[in-house]
Symmetry: C2
Subunit: 368 residues, 2 copies
């Protein structure tokens, strides 16, 4: 159905892309990749970027080429996409509990190094049984609740017990612990963020220590997000960091004043200018998300997004600014990049205002 004229030619000016278009600023993104890679270059901890942010295997390979040790992902379906694209080391940072999915997991583990988070003994035994049946070995990290109070066992003895069980089960390769400080990554106050992140990582690293004292080797101590990459990434004992959003950033992460650029935008077109000061764009809730607030217009200046309906965005133009005309392009920064990307099928990668590549978001919708 994608007629030939539907995809723009390489070299097309950004202002002539079909809209709504999810546009990567290649220069800004490559700086983000480089900056994050540089940070980890001389650290004991390494970067395992989160696939859930971009869901694009081209971008995963760029991150790996820059030094990432593997990929993190949220869902088994994402792991399948990554393995198919040749990624050899994948950590699923969530529980996989359904019997059919556990069978898929065990089968996939025969094709790549696969590590999954566990926080429950029965689940571990089921994965073990499936791995034996598939003739594979599934890596596991014990998920530890470091303060987010979502999934994970309590730090300390409960984690040691689960690690011990994992180590004794056939088909399981116990690799370490994972703890996500999701309650701290977006704290706007830098000092509070630092203090609470260190508390969380202390609990994780101490748990790893307890497991080692129980005689079990711990290779992986995984934590971190974009908001805490430097804190967690330099915390003694942490071995890898799962940051994802640094690649693109968004209006929410921008508040933290991290050294990364906003590299992803949504380009829309004005489709109607029915009254002075009001302009309607062809972008609504099916191409932008709002759980972190409304996206922000970055071009043209003096323009503000006032509301998003399902298929429309309503702009307000400051008095005294040039009025928008039908056909004008409007560029917005998403307020939550991960959920925004999940609405789109492809990226338009742009350098110097020209289309350089179109990349499929093959992990989009892989929520199973």
């Amino acid at each position: 159905m994608l007629a030939p004229y539907y995809l723009p030619e390489i070299g097309t000016p950004k202002a002539q892309l079909p809209t709504p278009a999810l546009v990567i600023d290649l220069e800004a993104m490559q700086e983000n990749i480089h900056r994050m890679a540089s940070f980890f270059q001389d650290k004991p901890a390494k970067l395992r970027p989160h696939f859930k942010t971009h869901k694009c295997t081209v971008l995963a390979h760029k991150q790996l080429a820059a030094g990432a040790i593997g990929m993190t992902c949220a869902k088994l379906g994402e792991a399948e996409v990554l393995v198919e694209a040749g990624v050899r080391d994948v950590l699923i940072a969530n529980q996989v509990v359904d019997p059919v999915k556990i069978a898929r997991l065990a089968q996939l583990a025969g094709q790549a190094t696969l590590i999954v988070a566990v926080d429950q003994a029965d689940n571990l035994r089921q994965i073990s049984a499936a791995a034996r049946e598939a003739g594979s070995r599934v890596g596991v990290v014990v998920e530890v609740d470091v303060g987010l109070h979502r999934c994970g066992v309590e730090p300390g003895p409960a984690a040691v017990d689960l690690a011990r069980l994992a180590s004794g089960l056939p088909g399981i390769h116990f690799t370490g612990v994972l703890g996500y400080e999701g309650h701290t990554v977006l704290l706007p106050d830098a000092e509070q963020r630092a203090r609470q992140t260190r508390e969380a990582m202390r609990a994780l690293v101490e748990t790893a220590q307890l497991i080692r004292q129980a005689g079990l080797p711990v290779e992986i101590v995984s934590g971190g997000g974009t908001g805490t990459y430097d804190l967690t990434g330099s915390f003694p004992g942490v071995t890898e960091v799962e940051a994802g959003s640094y690649l693109f950033m968004d209006t929410k992460y921008r508040l933290l004043e991290l050294p990364f650029h906003c590299a992803l935008s949504l380009v829309a077109t004005v489709v109607s200018t029915p009254a002075p000061g009001r302009a309607i764009i062809d972008a609504g809730l099916k191409v932008l998300t709002t759980e972190n607030g409304l996206p922000e217009v970055i071009s043209p200046a003096g323009t503000r997004l006032a509301a998003l309906n399902e298929e429309h965005g309503r702009l307000e133009v400051e008095p005294g600014r040039t009025a928008l005309r039908v056909g004008d392009r409007v560029e917005l920064i998403p307020s939550h990049v991960c959920t925004t990307v999940n609405l789109h099928d492809r990226y338009y990668a742009v350098r110097d205002d020209r289309l350089e590549a179109i990349w499929s978001i093959t992990g989009r919708g892989k929520s199973q």
Copy 2:
């Protein structure tokens, strides 16, 4: 990449579907289709259901088989999907303004009866030029702002002028007027909804009358949504109604106490039960939307959705209720069905708790 074991077999119990799963209750949905079709059976107005709700060509054909006169859609990309699936009469209820898209529109108009909304003279001239070039004829409705204050010209003379221009342009078939009373469809107070809807439709029908008085035939007077289908559908002079959500309903539309069932749910799996009274499901903001509030748990009873993160939902279980266990299924009603559907690649259609069909959501993401 979709391995054979990824799609469940027909006959699979609902409780064993892969999750998160978007599940259609076939019985409930077919009652909704039948009830809406019955309403229009003896009315001068007819139903042209909105594709944006379900984005599935199988469902479009079910609606057409039940008496719908064609389909409404929001985007040119959706119209392309519909025409490819054999739908012969499609109304795009929005403006198409980009030159490349106008060329696509003109080309598509050579393959089916295609009608597009216009509210601007230049746009109309560009469509005319493209249709001449493609050797096709594009149907247009003049969009009238009936109080939503989004797109559309003012009722009255402005609409007559545009209709007159449309009627004189080669390649254009002027068909009538469209006005969406989006400001009234969700008004919870039935009397207020009725009053404001009638005001909106009066403006639309009077505008159609003015156009007729100018000597131009008006075939289409299109309005309506699910919340106003009965008001708009029985308003003298309205010829077609664009309701979409009646097919599935959601927690927001349910407040209106319309005679339609909630027929779409999201089935998730409990992946972690880390503390008493807390259970985490594998469904978050990438499979459910929240702009109309949090979705509502319908099963098991006594369970409430407390928060949605990106990949997780956090449930609270009432004291005294049976605790949820890892692997348990949880069923939720979306709070906004149209944006929820747009996150998913397929429906699992269920009757008597068994999978009867899997249908692709081929219009998903067709936002261009």
